[in-house]
């Protein structure tokens, strides 16, 4: 098998398509791979065509007795068995090269591509995505802090299929990394001796290489820990042990286990970065990985929403007494409240996608703000997807979606699987706490209008190649705040200018009205954020409500930025953006009229009117050369 599906690989002209008219159904990389995408961006840029080629390859592997067959994956899940064939197929398709930066010999030059590739895998099975994608988390510390030679060697091994894990957490300390008890002490004659146990680690038994955070100063503290890249093959037998697989609620086939070290000798060159830099490196690494987690949430959300929509479109609730043609003898999707819920779920997923897209692109252009943006992305995107999946389950479960209406239990599996995304790599609570700690700087930056307009435009233009990612630009705290929201007043002004110039007149007025309400809500939110006072460990519960509102404002502002940079002034489709703004304003508790919320039904049409197995995505509504 070749690596033709890789981002720098094949170009498939079949993906070229015509531009979409207002409201036209468009898709992002059809999961079935049967038809061309028809959006304005389809076929216009190399990453899109490469992603679509990868998606088609996945489609070829999705069928009875194939690695991504629904029945096969369901059976593995029921048996708590690792999806070996699916992961091997991804290896053979060359996906590991996407985890290696181009400067270290791989294909990773644009995090947007990584997001789209992992999203495509997650649309089929989240266990496979979490198992395969973990290698990036395992390697990222070396990418950002290792020396060039170590990074080049690691890149080569990953390209050859090596699995890399990252062992941070311990049995009694969870997210509290500074309480870690695994130690590394200088070994007589050089190198390090590693002792202790890491637990609840994805892929740690399968991995050949493991990045380990260990205490190198007995006193601990922010400078008391260091990172090591442990090569199991180079450890003395008997100095390390794999701990048993832990059975989990979802992603049941994943290798969630642990590793124990007993005076395991590490060579000098196992150290990543300098002694004492471990926590700083890992916090910066998490800015990247927490952002990329959006890919898995978006894919799981796509999958669950597609299953729910197909179910609602094909199931009736007619009982024995309902005559054919009666009000009940119609697909569930035609019932007004179900139609509205599907539209709301679509809007929620589009808001999550806007957040994810802006966030991964900000890694390139707004690197210094990632302490804020990664926290928003990791808190908001999984929570939004959890919420929409829960609503769909509660709405359609009694109709059969939790039973016979769900072949192979795919919806139930997606629901179980996805709950892990909001837990690992820092939970929603941990990330909201990280956001709250930055409230004073964010509020100050907003008040002073500190937005990097050029970098923001780049983040909001997903069909253009981003500037190279510079790890050195990562910062533990954003000094300027957050350009996505600090740039909102200018975005609303730009929309106002478009509305003033538009022909025919007034078609942008409804959108402008929603955007102005968003700006007003954002202004008030930042005023409230500026008044929050707290001491460490005593963040008041009320601040978490402000954090949730901040995430909603960020998501809606992100959608507006994407629209402004991804549409031309003529014949611009406002449907999806109005849907996003209506959903965000409603969740913020801001006034929205009944007539405005009708746009959610239009989003339902986008969802239902396309061919089976396709997904609604902003990427297909954004033009490559609009701004």
């Amino acid at each position: 098998m070749t690596t033709a599906a890789l981002p720098t690989g094949a170009v498939d002209g079949q993906d070229a398509g015509a531009g979409a008219a207002d409201g036209q159904r468009v898709t992002d990389g059809p999961a079935d791979g049967r038809g061309p995408a028809t959006g304005p961006a389809a076929g216009q840029d190399l990453p899109t065509r490469s992603v679509n080629a990868f998606t088609r390859r996945l489609r070829e592997l999705t069928g009875p007795a194939l690695p991504f067959g629904a029945e096969e994956l369901a059976a593995l899940d029921a048996a708590d068995a690792f999806p070996t064939a699916a992961c091997r197929a991804l290896d053979e398709a060359g996906l590991p090269r996407s985890y290696v930066p181009a400067e270290h010999g791989g294909d990773l030059a644009d995090f947007t591509v990584v997001l789209r590739l992992l999203r495509a895998v997650s649309r089929i099975d989240l266990t496979v995505a979490a198992a395969h994608g973990k290698t990036y988390l395992g390697a990222v510390s070396t990418w950002i802090a290792g020396d060039d030679e170590a990074a080049r060697r690691l890149g080569g091994r990953i390209a050859d299929g090596e699995v890399v894990s990252c062992a941070l957490t311990e049995r009694d300390h969870g997210s509290d990394l500074l309480s870690g008890e695994v130690t590394a002490r200088p070994a007589p004659g050089g190198g390090w001796l590693l002792d202790g146990e890491k637990w609840l680690i994805n892929n740690v038994t399968r991995a050949g290489l493991v990045t380990v955070l260990a205490r190198t100063d007995e006193e601990g503290g922010p400078r008391g820990f260091s990172l090591f890249l442990v090569d199991k093959a180079r450890l003395e037998p008997g100095t390390w042990t794999s701990l048993p697989k832990v059975p989990t609620y979802g992603i049941r086939g994943a290798d969630i286990s642990g590793i124990s070290f007993d005076a395991a000798h590490l060579p000098e060159d196992a150290l990543i970065g300098a002694v004492g830099q471990g926590v700083e490196i890992i916090v910066k690494a998490l800015h990247i990985t927490r952002t990329c987690c959006a890919a898995m949430s978006l894919g799981a959300g796509d999958h669950a929403l597609r299953l729910a929509a197909d179910f609602a479109a094909t199931h009736h609730d007619a009982g024995p007494g309902d005559a054919p043609g009666s009000a009940h003898d119609a697909p569930l999707a035609r019932q007004p409240h179900i139609r509205r819920e599907l539209g709301e779920a679509t809007a929620g997923l589009l808001l999550a996608e806007a957040t994810g897209l802006i966030a991964v692109r900000s890694l390139h252009s707004l690197t210094g703000e990632m302490s804020v943006i990664s926290a928003v992305a990791k808190a908001y995107v999984p929570a939004q997807v959890d919420a929409l999946v829960a609503r769909l389950l509660q709405l359609l479960g009694p109709h059969g979606l939790l039973g016979p209406g769900d072949p192979h239990g795919q919806f139930a599996k997606a629901e179980r699987d996805h709950r892990i995304i909001g837990i690992f790599d820092g939970s929603s609570l941990v990330n909201r706490n990280a956001l709250i700690e930055q409230f004073p700087r964010i509020a100050r930056g907003y008040r002073k209008g500190r937005a990097d307009a050029e970098a923001l435009a780049e983040a909001a233009s997903p069909h253009t190649a981003p500037r190279p990612f510079r790890p050195a630009g990562l910062s533990l705290l954003s000094t300027s705040g957050c350009s996505v929201l600090a740039g909102l007043p200018a975005a609303v002004e730009a929309l106002r200018a478009r509305a003033a110039d538009e022909v025919p007149a007034r078609s942008l007025a409804p959108l402008l009205s929603l955007a102005e309400r968003l700006l007003d809500a954002t202004d008030r939110l930042h005023e409230a954020m500026a008044t929050v006072r707290f001491t460490p460990r005593a963040v008041p519960g009320e601040a978490f409500d402000l954090a949730e509102r901040y995430e909603l404002c960020f998501a809606a502002a992100g959608a507006l930025h994407l629209w402004l940079h991804g549409t031309t002034t003529t014949a611009a489709d406002t449907t999806w953006l109005r849907g996003c703004l209506v959903k965000a304003l409603t969740d913020l508790g801001e006034p929205v009229t009944a007539a405005e919320t009708d746009v959610l039904d239009e989003l339902t049409d986008l969802l239902l009117d396309g061919p089976p197995g396709t997904f609604v995505s902003l990427l297909d509504h954004l033009e490559a050369n609009a701004s």
Binding site: D176, L178, P398, A538
Partner: protein, 283 residues
């Protein structure tokens, strides 16, 4: 007069669910669900009685396992299963509180973190809300004479979402411990899974999408006389009557009061619902 004799009998028969040697306890039930051992204890029975007594007896079973609990008797009020699920939320809260009190994060017990206390208080307020709605519905109370059926509607359409929402938020508080199917806290994931199916499974009634007149219901004398309106007003589940999907948690003095009450009942070994039944639990 609340009748809990049947429930007390169930509790006495099934014993302390936290006892690892109890064949009806959480450890044994997880092992059974996981196929690690057969269910070798006596089958569970739901005693006969008046609807409200049956509700509480069923709640005593659901707080151990909704999946193993028998169905309500034919003719039982429709809100009975929803009301029984309050028992599952009771156990979920108890397991979460137990976990947080034993876990140290950032140098102190996790239960000291204000954000976690807020979420616990919110889940407790939701439990009180759902207990009130379902108990009165099973009792056949009509708090709004000019809107007959309003309370039953609230109990059957809103309470299931409120209960599940509270369980979901507690799962976030539990963090990775929620996700594990073995060990001390593994009953949490089983209770969540089984409650989800008990409330939204293929054999459950479809939720009526008509708006619930919750504000009027909570202000009605029959409801005010059954529960503290201040505590009910703090329930995050109230947000389900609106169109916003954000679920504000209790704050200020009412949050402190909810948390103190929750801990007091936990330490006293009584249920969190309004009956305050004594429990055999020794978490």
């Amino acid at each position: 007069m609340i009748t809990t004799t049947l429930a007390d009998t169930v509790e006495e028969t099934l014993g302390d669910p936290f006892d690892a040697t109890n064949p009806h306890g959480f450890h044994a039930l997880v092992d059974t669900a996981e196929g690690r051992r057969p269910f070798d204890a006596a089958p569970w029975h739901l005693p006969d009685g008046d609807p409200e007594s049956v509700l509480h007896a069923l709640r005593a079973l659901h707080r151990r396992s909704p999946a193993l609990a028998p169905a309500p008797p034919a003719g039982a009020p429709a809100a009975t299963v929803v009301g029984a699920s309050v028992g599952a939320l009771d156990s979920a809260l108890r397991i979460t509180l137990r976990h947080l009190r034993s876990r140290h994060l950032y140098g102190a017990p996790a239960s000291d973190l204000p954000a976690l206390r807020t979420l616990l208080a919110g889940a407790y307020a939701d439990l009180l809300l759902c207990d009130t709605l379902t108990t009165l519905a099973v009792r056949g109370t009509e708090p709004l004479p000019d809107r007959p059926g309003a309370l039953a509607h609230a109990a059957e359409a809103l309470a299931p979402r409120a209960l599940q929402g509270a369980m979901d938020r507690l799962s976030v508080v539990m963090g990775s411990r929620f996700y594990i199917r073995e060990g001390a806290h593994s009953s949490f994931q089983r209770l969540l899974y089984e409650t989800q199916r008990a409330l939204f499974g293929a054999d459950r009634p479809v939720l009526d999408p008509e708006p619930v007149p919750l504000a009027a219901l909570l202000a009605a004398p029959a409801v005010v006389g059954s529960a503290d309106p201040v505590l009910l007003a703090a329930a995050p589940g109230l947000a389900l009557t609106g169109s916003s999907r954000r679920v504000p948690q209790p704050g200020g003095a009412v949050q402190e009061r909810l948390y103190e009450e929750l801990v007091a009942r936990y330490e006293a070994g009584t249920t969190f619902d309004h009956t305050r039944r004594p429990l055999p639990d020794r978490p």
